[in-house]
Each structure stands twice: as C-alpha cells, then as structure tokens.
C-alpha cells in the first residue's frame, strides 16, 4: 500500500508540532522517520495511524483519501513504544484480540491456527500461555509485532520499536525485523531518534527537525551528502570550524577548501573524526594535542587549532600521546555550510 502525505500540519495548543510535511512512501518500502525529540516524528506516525488527526493537509492510502478514517477502520498495524500489551491477557490472547473483534468472522480453530503461525513467525513458539509480565522486553516487542500483524494490516507502523531494549537485543531485533519485512513485503514506517538504527534498517530515511523534513534519501545518500549542518551533526560526530568563504573557496589559516554555491562571508567547515590524518610536519591546519580518549578499536584525539577551536579525530590505538605536541591536521571529505 502506497502512502502519501500532502502538506500535513498539526498544532497542539499553541505548539506547532508538524509544519506542512509532504512525503511519498512506496508500496513495500521500509522507511525511517529520524529526528531528535520534539521534531514531530511520532506525531506524523500517529497521524498516519489515525490516532491523531491533522489540522491541515491530507493523507492518502493508495488513491483513497484516508485523512478522516478512524484508526479502527484504517487497517494499520501499530506497535507502541512500550508495546501496550494487554497485561491481563496471555500472549496468545493478545495476538488473537484483533481477530476476535474483527468484522471478518473467523472460527476459533482458525484463530488459534493463525496465532500459532504468528508465534512461529516471531520465533516465540510455546510462549502463548505466558502473561506479558512473564516474558522479557525483547519477547514483548515481538508479541506486539505479532499482534499488529494478526489483523492483516495494509501498513505497519512502529513507534521507537527498540527504544526500551538494551544494545545487544536491539541489534538482533533490528536485523530480525528487516528479515520479517522482506518476507512479508508490507509497507512499513518506523520512528526512531537513533541514527544507527535508521541507517541499519531502512530503505529510505526521512530526517526531521522542528516539524519539517530536512532531508530524505537512502542511507547512502544522507550519509554521503548531508543537506545541512543539522543533518551532518545529527547523523554522527562532526567537527566544526569557523571559516571564511570568498569566491566559492573556504579558508582557514592558509588552507583552502572547495565551497561550491556558498556565498562569500563567514561559513562553517564540517568533517568526521575518522576523516583526519595527523602529520608532524607538512601542511594542513595547525593544531596542538590536548588529550586522548581510549576506545576498544581506536584512540580518539582531542586537539586545539592555533586559534583555539577544538578538533576531535580518530587515530590508531598505537598513536603516541604527548601533551602539547604540535602538528598538522589534514582533512578528507570536508563539507562547507553557511554559518
């Protein structure tokens, strides 16, 4: 099912949560809504579900205008951030709930057959008589997914699906969800504030800031060509140096970088900590080493430019630390954005 959002607006009291968002999601696509808290991503997801209604704009499911269809009749599967499993029902009863209240009548045998099938799909065979409080967080997450899938939704919506889980379970579930999506081919939209999760899982990432879409693209596109300083910063660690642009060239100390389409005047130069080579002599931005932080696979070096701007970069674990050592920073893949 193709989903289209057409200049959707939502205001809460006086706070504008979503400002005219337009978005096309292809049938069978797995799309991440990525943004910091307060960026409006959950509000957008809830509007697609029909749990909130937009103040302006329209939402289409295929060719049908779904803007005013109630959540009950919208045919979406929604997985809540804290799963919202019914605590007084067993795992099996939770999964069967949607089928029992559905207008399509199913026989008891049909329902229990489908519950078993879904439990196999989410790899929880044999747990149907447990209560939600008796299973782990990762298992609850999978029950919530099975429950949402039980009603044959046209669209699957997940709100921070892995937010409440610890790092290892998170990574496993992420890969597993991708596998389920590929098997079922159901159009899926999920919300996350974790860039690694979005990049790992999604076909396409929609980055939001203050209720607006700031960039949409494949993980490769948004990583290699961030559209703004915000995206650059939000997707991962980034260094920022003040530079001066004149004639599409950015200058700091006596080093220049290409700055296509940037107006003359002050601007900002961004680069990733991994895109730095430290040289004892030669040319580059002059800097002094201040401190190192050791990590399992590398050494993070904290340095200061001659005019006192901080730079962080990653070096091999063998990188020798001498406080106040002078040297030169050579930057790969620099990006210049207007200040």
């Amino acid at each position: 099912m193709k989903i289209r959002l057409d200049t959707v607006v939502k205001t809460f009291d006086t706070f504008r949560a979503v400002h005219g968002v337009s978005l096309d999601i292809e049938s069978g696509e797995l799309v991440a809504l990525l943004g910091p808290s307060g960026s409006g991503k959950t509000t957008i997801l809830r509007m697609v579900a029909g749990l909130e209604f937009p103040d302006g704009g329209a939402i289409y499911f295929g060719d049908e205008n779904a803007t005013d269809i109630e959540v009950r009749h919208r045919g979406v599967g929604f997985v809540f951030q804290h799963y919202a499993l019914f605590p007084h029902m067993t795992v099996g009863e939770n999964i069967a709930f949607g089928m029992k209240v559905s207008k399509t009548k199913r026989s008891a045998a049909e329902i229990s057959g489908r519950v078993e099938h879904l439990l196999r799909l989410v790899q929880l065979e044999g747990l149907q008589d447990r209560f939600p409080a008796q299973i782990s967080g990762g298992q609850r997450q999978r029950v919530a997914l099975a429950r949402a899938l039980a009603v044959d939704p046209k669209v699957l919506l997940l709100d921070e699906p892995f937010g409440a889980l610890d790092a290892n379970v998170r990574r496993d579930l992420r890969r597993w969800l991708r596998k389920i999506h590929d098997e079922l081919g159901i159009t899926t939209l999920f919300v996350t504030h974790d860039q690694a999760e979005a990049l790992d899982l999604a076909d396409r990432v929609v980055i939001l800031d203050k209720g607006k879409i700031v960039q949409t693209g494949t993980p490769e596109e948004v990583c290699r060509a961030p559209a703004s300083a915000f995206v650059m910063n939000f997707l991962g660690d980034a260094n920022r140096l003040k530079v001066t642009v004149s004639g599409e060239k950015a200058q700091i100390q006596n080093v220049t970088f290409d700055a296509p389409d940037i107006a003359d005047g002050p601007a900002e130069l961004f680069f990733r900590p991994a895109d730095v080579t430290w040289r004892e002599d030669g040319h580059g931005i002059q800097a002094t080493i201040a401190r190192v932080i050791d990590r399992p696979d590398s050494r993070r070096v904290l340095a200061l430019t001659v005019d006192g701007q901080p730079i962080e970069f990653d070096a091999a674990p063998e990188f020798p630390f001498r406080a106040d050592a002078h040297g030169f920073v050579e930057i790969r893949r620099p990006r210049v954005y207007p200040a």
């Binding site: 749990l51 919202a84 019914f86 605590p87 949607g98 939600p132 409080a133 008796q134 782990s136």
Partner: protein, 295 residues
C-alpha cells in the same frame, strides 16, 4: 562469637523504639478497640434474647431496610458516576478538566451537614424548586429520594478517587492499541479497560458503600427523622439513645459495626489480591525483565 557493639541505626535506639510502640498501642486500644468492645458488651448485656427482640423491633427493621435501600440506589449510581468521571479526566483533554478534578473533591472537604442544609434550600418548601415540586406532588425531602441524594453527595468522590491515579498511570496506550486492532469503544471498555481497573473499582465501591450506610450528618438534615418512615440505621441509633434505650442503641450500633467489619475484611482481602498484582504492572513495557531468552 563476641558480641560487637555497634551504634544503632538512626531512630533505632531501644528506648525510643519501645516508647513509640507503647504510645501507639495504648492509643489504638483506647480510641479504637475500647469503644467497639463496649458496643458488643452493652448490646448483649441483657442477654441474646433481649438483643434479638431489639433487632426485631419494627422501627429498627425499617431503619435497616431504609439503609439497605439507600445503599442499593446510591452505590450503583455513584459507581457509574465515578467510572465516567475518572474516564473523562484521564483519557480526554477538555477545558475545565483541572477544575473538575477539584470540584469532585468538594464532598470530601465540606462537612456533610452543609450538604444537608444545601439540599434543604434547593428542594425544601421555601427552596428553589420547593413550590414546583409540591404542586407536582413529588416528595424529595423527608423521604427516600432526599436521603439517597444526600448520601450520593457525600460519597460522590470515592470511586473516582480510587480510579483516577490508576488510570492516569495506565495512560491511553492500551485503549489506543485495542482500537487500532479494530475494537469498538464498548469492547475496548469491557475487555481492556475494565479488567485492568477492576480491583481499584471494587475497592472504591466498598468504601463508597460503607460510607453510604454510615452517613449521619447530611442524612439527618434531609430525612426529618420520622421513626419507622425516614429513619436510617445511624439516625435510628441516635433516636434510641435519646430514648434512654441504651441496649437498643447498642444493639443497632452493633449491626453497623458488623457491617463495617465485614467491609474491612473485604477491603483487606482485595488489597492482598491487589498486592499480588503489584509485581504485575499494568503497563507491560515497564515490568522488570525476567529472563532474556533469545531464540
């Protein structure tokens, strides 16, 4: 093993501890146990037969009936009111929501006698609707409807007060989940909301019921104290006492006391069941992990 002397924890010195416990025990005995014991002793002071005769007195029986009738009407209405109020306050946003939260607490803070007098002003002969009611030949004051209304006023907050904190903690997630799975409003209420609030609801109903049965102040103003007609059990006890029928008063009082004790036992039993569910929190997502069994 040598006994090592360690300084006691804060507030754990033997003198302090024993004094505190003694004070509490003496106060409980004097203030709570002794009066109840006296009721039982005095009620039976002229023998079981006399006790039975007093209870079987037609005025006493009528008072018991009035109290039961009042509870049968007031408690279900207030239960429905309490559930609706708690639902509205916790699941919807609407203007005046905070004000409503305060307003439903008023019966807790206002003296019941004030409620009784207020009803006099509204429904009494010289009251707002007095003439209209009289010409329509509807009797509210000095009759069962007045007693029920006054009892309902006094006990209005009980059910809502029990439900609001629980329903607030549960949030709207469960209802949203049920609706997104295709359930109608009624189904959501009966299959999802109700099972998760049932213990708090029962507890509220029990408190509400015991207060309705024991209410004196508000009811005494609106009932008119007509023996054998508009007397509830608490009012009847007072009448008997003023008649210098001490044994009768104590016998009637013992019925109320027994009702109270039964209520208390029911409440403790419910709390036990409720305690068993504390480790089973209402929102599955916040429960502690028991084991992480990855397939």
């Amino acid at each position: 093993m040598a006994k090592t002397r360690r300084p006691p924890r804060i507030g754990d010195a033997p003198i302090f501890r024993n004094t505190m416990i003694a004070i509490v025990l003496v106060l409980v005995a004097l203030i709570i146990i002794a009066p109840l014991a006296v009721i039982g002793y005095e009620a039976l002071s002229k023998g079981i037969a006399y006790f039975g005769k007093t209870i079987a007195n037609s005025d006493t029986r009528h008072a018991i009936l009035m109290t039961a009738m009042t509870a049968l009407i007031a408690v279900p209405i207030n239960t429905a009111f309490g559930v609706a109020t708690a639902w509205a306050i916790t699941k919807f946003d609407f203007p005046g929501r905070r004000l409503l939260l305060i307003v439903i607490e008023i019966p807790f803070s206002v003296s019941p006698i004030v409620a009784g007098v207020a009803y006099l002003f509204v429904y009494g002969l010289q009251g707002l609707f007095g003439e209209a009611l009289q010409s329509a030949d509807v009797k509210i004051l000095f009759a069962l409807p007045g007693i029920v209304l006054a009892s309902m006023f006094v006990t209005a907050p009980f059910v809502a007060r029990e439900l609001i904190p629980l329903m607030q903690a549960q949030g709207r997630d469960l209802e949203e989940a049920a609706t997104s799975l295709g359930a109608s409003g009624w189904r959501t209420f009966f299959f999802v909301t109700l099972p998760n609030i049932k213990w708090a609801l029962l507890y509220g109903v029990i408190l509400c019921n015991s207060r309705v049965m024991g209410e004196f102040g508000a009811v005494s103003v609106v009932s008119g104290n007509i023996r054998g007609q508009t007397n509830t059990l608490p009012l009847h006890i007072e009448l008997l006492y003023h008649d210098y029928n001490a044994v009768g008063a104590f016998a009637a009082a013992s019925i109320l006391a027994v009702l109270a004790v039964v209520t208390l036992i029911a409440k403790v039993a419910l709390e036990r069941r409720g305690a068993g569910r504390v480790r089973r929190p209402s929102l599955a997502g916040t429960a502690p992990d028991i084991s992480e069994t990855t397939p």
